[in-house]
């Protein structure tokens, strides 16, 4: 059987364009990454989409790549984009906000491309009571927690904060570096220790570098 060159090229192009798994998923009836991302942006469907994107992003590199391009744009919108809600339960309320869910996804999937967008909100605290253990674990600081989860790839952004910001943002960047605990993080902390003026932060850095 003879196959013309034109037909062969067409088949190859079709094969390539349908090779991304999220397009395949859509063809099979499963929502694609763009479809899920649209749901993530909707106040009504954002939390369910977050869970689906988390599952998909863990197993599908294309979904992860898609989120790496899209999540920073959503994170840039800031907390003021969150819908007003009467929901009493705080965790439910957080997850009713597309912006919050974008941050959580960026951290859970360790999307380094989101680090610059996250840095802007590193010291932003969700509304919540004072519970020291939870406070210390950054639960109330979603962007700081996401940067910690991203780990080493977030270190340049954290160093930029250290060099350019003061007050709470600076302290939070030190804390996140302390949590990362990697060799790279300790090297960054070592540099910071030489010029860190805050005694409390100096102590925190020294403690982190001991472990």
């Amino acid at each position: 059987m003879r196959i013309s060159r034109t037909v062969l090229v067409s088949v190859l192009v079709l094969g390539f364009s349908s090779g991304t798994s999220w397009q395949w998923a859509s063809a099979q009836g499963r929502p694609s990454a763009p479809e899920l991302f649209e749901r993530l942006r909707s106040d009504q469907t954002t939390n369910a989409a977050r869970k689906q994107l988390l599952d998909l992003g863990k197993s599908d590199p294309e979904t992860r790549n898609y989120l790496a391009a899209q999540l920073p744009l959503l994170i840039d919108l800031g907390p003021e984009s969150c819908p007003q809600t009467d929901t009493v339960d705080l965790v439910t309320r957080w997850h009713a906000c597309p912006w919050y869910n974008a941050i959580e996804l960026a951290g859970n999937l360790r999307i380094a491309e989101a680090s610059p967008a996250l840095a802007r909100w590193i010291n932003w605290r969700v509304e919540g009571p004072l519970l020291p253990s939870i406070e210390a674990q950054l639960i109330f600081y979603p962007a700081a927690k996401a940067l910690y989860e991203i780990g080493d790839p977030a270190i340049p952004v954290l160093q930029h904060i250290l060099n350019s910001s003061g007050g709470g943002e600076h302290a939070q960047a030190v804390r996140v570096l302390c949590k990362i605990r990697s060799v790279k993080a300790k090297a960054a902390l070592s540099e910071q220790l030489a010029r860190e003026a805050d005694p409390g932060l100096r102590t925190m850095i020294k403690n982190a570098m001991r472990h």
């Binding site: 509304e127 919540g128 004072l130 020291p132 674990q137 639960i139 982190a208």
Partner: protein, 389 residues
């Protein structure tokens, strides 16, 4: 001890108890309709137990149409009914003790299953009682399947199903053995332990200096004092500085401290323009398992760096931990609390690797009056569940 010979056969209708021996048989009328037995139901309690003195303890219906709602003690030598007792729901018989008391389970008016003991005269009380006579538990709820009656082991120790579905060894009945241990009442939780296994006591303190052996320091966001009390850290926080303390029978390092918190808040936040915004919310740390557990040395969880709030050195028997729950002065990034009513209910636990745990419930009530004024008179903290949110 009187030996019983022969066989006992309860009949539902007409209600009677037959006592047959090798040489004779007797028929005794019963004041209840004995419960029918449906096949080999492994999850049904025995409908009749026999005491060492020949007393039979039967469950049955108080009338032909009623559910199984009665327990009766019958002398099988002569058919005399020693006592009868009505129960709220079907009783599950467990054990007859050496003094002729009957241990059984029955749901009470609270729709929870309680473990009870009827003395030889039919007087019923909780098997494990607090000092005021109330039931110290375990009180079982949501158990719709299976048999959960307690089993007596030895030396005053019972094995009993716990509310969390686990099995606990409980000391406390003064009926079964003369050497029974007293009922633990702290936190109203029976002591769950294995014989000869480690034990613990636990409490939380709310005022005064820290314990002499406590080397910990309050640290972390919003802290400004080292004395146990309610403190206002200027423009930073209002919080209760508390100390948890546990004493274990073996080694402090072998136990883990954990904690969960349920917080409800209601109040008005005031922004820089003086505009008030009402806030009402709640937070339950159970949704984030382990996240309200105090930080320990070298804790790898995010945020525990530089914060050590548990002291449990190997070789010692005392465990201490610190906490300072409350509220930040700022309600959000652009507003401060003008007024606030916050309740917090906490459960702190120490558990060892065998699952032996001791817990204590405690609470906080934080009142901030309009104008961001701490209401020290109305605010309080203590053991127990505290006021409802």
């Amino acid at each position: 001890m009187k030996k019983l010979a022969g066989a006992l056969l309860p009949i539902s209708f007409p209600p009677a108890l037959y006592h047959a021996t090798a040489s004779s048989s007797s028929r005794f009328s019963l004041p209840l309709f004995p419960a029918e037995i449906f096949g080999d139901n492994l999850f049904a309690a025995d409908a009749m137990l026999l005491g060492e003195d020949g007393t039979a303890y039967l469950t049955g219906r108080s009338s032909e149409q009623s559910p199984v709602d009665t327990v009766a003690a019958v002398d099988t030598s002569n058919g005399n009914v020693k006592w009868t007792a009505n129960t709220t729901s079907e009783p599950d018989l467990s054990t007859v003790t050496s003094d002729g008391s009957l241990v059984f389970q029955s749901a009470q008016g609270d729709n929870a299953t309680h473990t009870l003991i009827a003395d030889p005269n039919g007087n019923i009380s909780p098997l494990f009682a607090n000092s005021d006579g109330s039931d110290a538990g375990p009180v079982l709820t949501n158990f719709s399947f299976g048999l959960h009656i307690p089993f007596y082991w030895t030396l005053g120790i019972w094995f009993a199903s716990m509310p969390d579905g686990g099995l606990g060894a409980i000391t406390g009945s003064g009926k079964a053995e003369t050497e029974a241990a007293p009922v633990p009442v702290s936190g109203a939780e029976p002591q769950r332990q294995h014989v000869g296994s480690p034990t613990a006591t636990i409490t939380v303190r709310f005022d005064g200096p820290k314990s002499p052996g406590d080397q910990l320091a309050f640290s972390g966001d919003g802290s400004c004092s080292q004395t146990l009390a309610l403190w206002y850290c200027q423009n930073l926080s209002w919080s209760f500085y508390v100390e948890g303390a546990a004493t274990v029978s073996d080694d402090a390092a072998k136990w883990k401290v954990s904690q969960n918190a349920v917080i409800s808040r209601s109040g008005d936040a005031k922004d820089s323009q003086g505009v008030l915004r009402h806030i009402r919310d709640s937070f339950n740390s159970d949704i984030l398992p382990g996240d309200d557990d105090p930080c320990v040395l070298n804790d790898s969880r995010p945020g525990c760096e530089g914060i050590v709030s548990v002291q449990q050195p190997s070789g010692q028997k005392s465990i201490f931990w610190l906490d300072h729950p409350g509220s930040l002065y700022k309600a959000s990034s652009d507003a401060v609390w003008d007024s606030l009513n916050e309740t917090g209910q906490f459960t702190s636990r120490v558990c060892n690797r065998f699952g032996i745990c001791k817990r204590v419930n405690w609470f906080i009530l934080l009142i901030v009056d309009p104008g961001s004024m701490l209401d020290s008179a109305q605010s309080l903290a203590g053991l127990g569940t505290g006021p409802n949110p």
